[in-house]
């Protein structure tokens, strides 16, 4: 009897929850004249802050431009993928088939976006990847475009800067072999650095703190004064903490998004990475454009914080997408939106002009920033 009561309660609870959820969705689907844009990203799980920060940028862009040129209201439908390909795929299918969105903005990692490539082609739906930078994302993928420069360019810039400007001959490269972003950047950096006559010594970030400390001490013995760390903030903080215990203080060079995550998650540890350099799409010491200023003001007003690089990416991605939709005669025509997105020319973003070529690759400036007394400062801008 007790068993059946429990089963009955679970059944009733499940049906109620399902009914509530599904009913809400139905109601949403039939409301007014609006253009729907799907947003997929890690809204929960370990990368939650990443997704939430980006979403704040998207919402700010929509506050700045709540309607299309023809007056249609813009509605975003956000789906959580926890940075997992299986959830991203289900989210994409739901957005396209059930919600009938005109286009998708995705804030997930490169491997997740790559896993959607075949499906995006079949569904003929434009996907704008605002955070992923792997070059394969736009390779033979006619419906996925990128907002940022790709890793090939980013690693080459980092490599040439270290070689030509910092005059380094030997660099230690720390690789996280479980991370596509890290692996690709490290390989590209090593290849470019070697082509200019430099030498790299690889060490792994995956073997635990003791092994990592031993590897760092080995680099110290080898008199390596530069460390390329294309890693997530968590790993970089660990390295910084380990280095803090020693008298070895090499200059660290990170990749895009690193400093943003450091500011978001590791404010108190920023002193450990004083002087660290990183390639980034934005810089806080360069004067923003009109668009950038308006967006920053709105962001500050809405969220009472100055906003992060990720929020800027979300905002720029949304504004570029809206501009592409506006240029289409039929604003739910996915093929047209894709074509217009890939013919974006000189869109004035936060700090400069952004163009997207017919292959979906972005052309935009890249900055090298440094952490200076717990604040970010721009060192150089590369076009």
């Amino acid at each position: 009897m007790k068993t059946y009561s429990l089963l009955f309660i679970i059944f009733i609870a499940s049906v109620s929850v399902l009914a509530t959820g599904c009913e809400k969705a139905k109601r949403e689907a039939v409301t007014g004249d609006s253009v729907k844009i799907g947003v997929i990203g890690p809204m929960s799980g370990s990368d939650e802050e990443w997704g939430q920060s980006c979403l704040e940028g998207i919402k700010t862009a929509l506050k700045l431009q709540p309607t299309l040129d023809n007056g249609s209201l813009i509605k975003i439908i956000v789906e959580d993928d926890q940075n997992q390909s299986i959830l991203a795929q289900k989210a994409l299918l739901k957005l396209v088939e059930d919600d009938d969105v005109s286009s998708i903005i995705i804030m997930s990692s490169s491997e997740v976006v790559l896993a959607l490539a075949e499906l995006a082609k079949r569904l003929k739906t434009p996907i704008f990847a605002v955070t992923s930078t792997h070059p394969d994302i736009t390779e033979n993928n006619s419906y996925i475009s990128q907002l940022l420069f790709d890793d090939h360019f980013q690693a080459s810039v980092a490599s040439l800067y270290v070689r030509d400007e910092l005059l380094a001959e030997r660099v230690g490269v720390v690789i996280d072999k479980t991370n596509t972003h890290s692996e690709y950047l490290a390989r590209q950096f090593i290849s470019k650095f070697a082509s200019t006559g430099g030498t790299c010594i690889e060490i792994s970030a995956n073997n635990g703190d003791e092994e990592l400390l031993a590897s760092l001490e080995f680099l110290q013995v080898q008199k390596i004064n530069f460390l390329y760390v294309p890693l997530e903030a968590e790993h970089v903080v660990t390295i910084a903490q380990l280095l803090h215990q020693t008298d070895y203080h090499p200059v660290m060079i990170g990749s895009d998004g690193l400093q943003a995550m450091m500011l978001l998650q590791y404010q108190e540890e920023l002193y450990l990475v004083n002087g660290m350099l990183a390639t980034d799409p934005y810089s806080s010491t360069i004067s923003p454009t009109d668009y950038g200023e308006r967006m920053q003001r709105l962001f500050q007003k809405s969220f009472s914080t100055p906003g992060t690089v990720l929020a800027a990416q979300g905002a720029e991605g949304t504004s570029i997408m809206l501009s592409a939709i506006n240029r289409c005669p039929e604003q739910s025509d996915r093929s047209c939106i894709n074509q217009m997105l890939r013919s974006t020319r000189d869109f004035v973003g936060f700090l400069g002009k952004i163009s997207i070529d017919e292959n979906g690759k972005a052309e935009r400036p890249i900055f090298i920033n440094t952490v200076d007394n717990s604040k970010l400062r721009s060192v150089v801008k590369v076009y």
Binding site: K2, T3, L6, L7, I10, S14, V17, L18, T20, G21, C22, K24, A25, E28, M43, S44, G45, E48, I77, V78, E79, D80, Q82, Q84, S85, I86, Q89, K90, A91, L93, K94, V96, E97, D98, S110, E111, L114, A115, A117, E118, L119, R122, L123, H134, D136, K177, T178, N179, T180, E183, Y184, N206
Partner: protein
Amino acid sequence: MESNRPRYCLGLLIMFMVVFSLGIERTANDYILAIVSFTGINIILAVSLNVTNGFAGLFSLGHPAFMAIGGYTTALLTFSMEKKPLFLPDLPQWLIPVHLPFFPALLVGGCFAALVAQIVGISVLRLKGHYLAVATMGFLIIVQVLLNNANSITRGPLGLNGLEEFTNVSWVAGWVVVTIYTCWKIKFSSLGRSMLAVKEDSMAANSLGVDLFYTRNFALTVGAFFAGVAGGLWGHLITAVTPGSFSLIMSFNIIVMVVVGGTGSITGSVTAAIIFTLAIECFRPLEENFGIYGVGEIVISLVLILILIFKPSGMFGTGEPKFVTGKYKQLSPTNGK
């Protein structure tokens, strides 16, 4: 006397699967079809893990590892010959001309996972309880590390994407029937009773002549075979396999299905797999509308806690419900034929 009810139920299941898959493929949109396919794959995973965890009492956390082995094997065997030089330029020479249709590739994927299970079983199955759980978790981590580092074959953490979308509801439905039928036959065979005896009291079972190692290894191998097949179906449904997909979280989700359904109950695993897969999807609108993301996972964890408190043996215990089995209520090593 043995009841004919299971045979009727099997016939009904086959008929239902045929009608259901044909019907839904003609009427539903891609999203619904994907959800149905994922539900079927979860049924295969939960039922096959039940053979290992439920029948033989081996607390294995390594199911996603076997799934990964099957998934990658199937993906490599079906990978388009035109894409191979582009995606896998460093593929070993002997693997370049290898190409199989989907069905044989799935079987090879399943068999390879089973073979690995046999080998792993030789050392791991000497352990029991928590030690076995830790060892199988270690195996899962080893597989992930290998997949991340074998760049020439697996493309490292990037994974293999651009796979052909072979998996559909019919494929999944077919494998669901095969999995349920096979596991059912095993459960109600002398081998199944041996497994249960080993689970209840291994020393007593051994003294009665049950070969402990063979019985345990067989349970692990059968579970691994179907996990491998599920991996192949999964990879060709989402058209990509990445090392990060086969994680401990996935292991946790499958174990929750088995525990909630009842460790040892096939009907329970099927029911729990359906409820959990659909529940997560139906929480999506709730998440969208109220902005509470991850609520599905919270509810699932709560249900697990409630089940463990109020009904530790799960929804159906170790047995099958009367409407399926006819006369049998509960299976134990001593009842039945």
